[in-house]
């Protein structure tokens, strides 16, 4: 029930981000100082920002960036984590220890600060955000994939399939894959929520994407000086972000309860 509500909310957010820029006539990245800081009205439903850009359109476009970046990073970390976790789980022995070791080291590092430091050393941009968040992002997925693989690998039917000489790919596809898919997906959903926060936090601290591209965190950050004069500039992207985070968190929570992780 909660999960379904979360999913529905998430679909709504995605639709809003995808469709709004098509439905409005405004260019979200074209400043027009003559129309700066217009209050909400019939032309601009949510008003305009300090550069005269339509707030509604800009929020939707920024949302595309936020979601896309969070999705891309989660996809990469999930893939990496799954591959590393399954491989270590199947190989056992040294690979097993190595994985645990790498996970412990990664868990010990202060993620956001490390990301900040990396982002500070490199140039702001999509690639930098990716580089900053991937090295530590794979851990949770890797550990879960590892545990699940170990569990299923010692199960009787898998031992049997192995004994009759099935190829590793067959093993992965037919027996292990289906078993670990559930837990991995659950962790991936939780990771998505975390990544969304991490990406926007980087932007909020001023180390995000180069203009004119922006995401919700960047919008909130840019709008904070105007928090008193025009609070809606910060409130709108913040609400969008909160709703998205809520939706993903609800889905993740419901999935977790199902798989009792």
């Amino acid at each position: 029930m909660r999960g379904r509500a979360g999913a529905a909310l998430f679909v709504l957010v995605v639709l809003f981000c995808l469709l709004t820029p098509m439905l409005t006539e405004y260019d979200p990245s074209r400043p027009d100082l003559g129309r700066a800081l217009l209050p909400p009205g019939p032309g601009h439903w949510l008003g305009t920002d300090q550069l005269g850009r339509d707030l509604l359109t800009r929020t939707a476009t920024a949302g595309r960036t936020s979601l896309l970046v969070a999705f891309a990073i989660t996809a990469v970390t999930t893939a990496l984590g799954t591959i590393a976790g399954t491989a270590a789980g199947l190989a056992g022995g040294l690979a097993d220890r190595l994985l645990r070791f790498a996970a412990t080291v990664a868990l010990a590092l202060p993620g956001l600060t490390l990301a900040l430091a990396l982002a500070g050393v490199l140039r702001p941009g999509y690639l930098t955000v990716l580089i900053a968040l991937v090295p530590l992002g794979w851990v949770s997925c890797g550990l879960v994939a590892h545990t699940a693989t170990r569990q299923v690998a010692s199960a009787d039917h898998v031992v049997a399939v192995r004994a009759i000489g099935a190829s590793p790919f067959y093993l992965l596809r037919r027996t292990i894959g289906p078993y670990i898919a559930g837990p991995v997906l659950t962790v991936a959903t939780a990771d998505l929520a975390r990544t969304l926060i991490a990406v926007t936090s980087l932007s909020f601290l001023g180390i995000g994407l180069p203009p004119p591209d922006t995401d919700w965190g960047g919008m909130v950050s840019e709008a904070t000086p105007l928090l008193v004069a025009a609070p809606r500039l910060a409130v709108v992207p913040a609400v969008a972000l909160a709703v998205t985070g809520l939706a993903v968190a609800l889905v993740a929570d419901a999935r977790r309860e199902l798989s009792a992780l």
């Binding site: 100082l33 300090q50 550069l51 702001p124 203009p211 004119p212 840019e222 904070t224 000086p225 928090l227």
Partner: protein, 509 residues
Amino acid sequence: MLMALLGMTLAGCGGQEPGAGQAGTQLTLAAPRDLVAGPADPYYTHQTLRVWEPLVTVDDRLRPVPALAASWAVADGGRRWTFTLREGVRFSDGTPLTAEAAVANVERFLRIAPRQSAFFSLDAGMEAAYGKVADVRAEGGKVVFDLKEAVADLPGRLAGFYSMIQSPKAFAASGEFAGKPVGTGPYTLVEWAKGQRAVLAANPHYYGAAPAYDKIVVRVIPDANARVAALRAGEVDGLIDKGALLPGQVAAVAGDSGFRVVRSPSVLTHYLTFNASRKPFSDARLREAADLAVDRRAIAAKLLAGTAEAGAGFLSPAFGDLADPGITAAHDPGRARELVAAAGPPAGPVTILISSAETGQFPYTDIAEVLRVSLEQVGLPAKVTVAEATKSVMEAGDYDLFLSAYSVPNGDADYLFRRFLRSDASWNVERGLGYRNARFDELVDQAAALTDPAARRELYHRIQRLLATDRPMVALAYQDNPIVTTTKVSGVTQNVAYIVDLGKLAPRK
């Protein structure tokens, strides 16, 4: 009632409600940076805390005016400068200010330079101030400088930090601070928590009118929004120093009847620096086109929210009559388009570079966006790059237009030209500006040696006219520095170098 009581208790135990109860004895201010730099710094504290005072300071037009020096005289065509000290001045340890003490301070500077400072390093500017000094000595209660070459404006070059005077007892033989700073100002530093707060107490030996507050606490709040929140929550009575309020915050704070915003011109100017060592801006026509494409008025009025004036000449009005008022900067996209058409459109987009260190202080992301669109509208496609370390990017030549702010806190125009634009200037050479003009170099050298104010002014006007046609760097806007206090505080004044005279602050009756 219970809630109010609870609120009072909480506020009380937080110690955050200044002025409640013993009004008039304590003042709490906040600044974006630590105004105390500690014993490793050549000055220990910033001038604005008024713990120490200089011989010479500057007024609102960057003119040198007396501080601890009551007056000065020049002789020998600019080769001998004599400073007469104010009488009856004592340091906060009770010892009197003497010419010998002043000389000891100058000698200390010469001994420890070059030395970095959080405020004003003893470096190239130090070279400009003291580089030509052959001898400094105390003579009949006066401080006498004998110079190797004539210097037209020694008081201007010494103004502020470079003529700080503290009791010689404040320093160890090595020139390091022996303990807390010992100055002549209305306040003394009694407590310092690095990066958090400085506590000042009234100096009982102060020569002037006794300061109105017994104690001033200056908190460090680096985040601009946290600063304004503290002000609005009544935790601090005012925000001071460079960048106390962001441009976007000014209108909302000024609109609140409980606060009073003081805006005064500052030495800070936003410049656009062209990379003339590569295409397209190696072509003077395209530099002119970019210059004409920019709507400076809109940027100053809207993006800088009226806290700045549209720029024109290289020297801001804060430089007083040294600035050439005849120079104007037009906004003419039509003419710009013609120039681009004549020069031929560039092969790729021009790169507008900004520093992420500055985006927190000024809306540079927004300004860069507007610049990008303005350039595109006249046929110069552009993209914006934000870099953390702009220096390495510029050294690699990987930019076309650089937006950044500079200030010269002591009104030394010569320093500005010499450091930024002379053919051998470090800025020009290292950052690949590619500006080489022998005529300009010659004029700068001539002006530095002139002691006649009128002739010097004329020469500086010519230099600025030359820069207005060459356009290696153009002034985008002259920034004000808005500061704010509650209406309970009076006597708030600020000079162009962001110095608020804490000694003049008093509770409003």
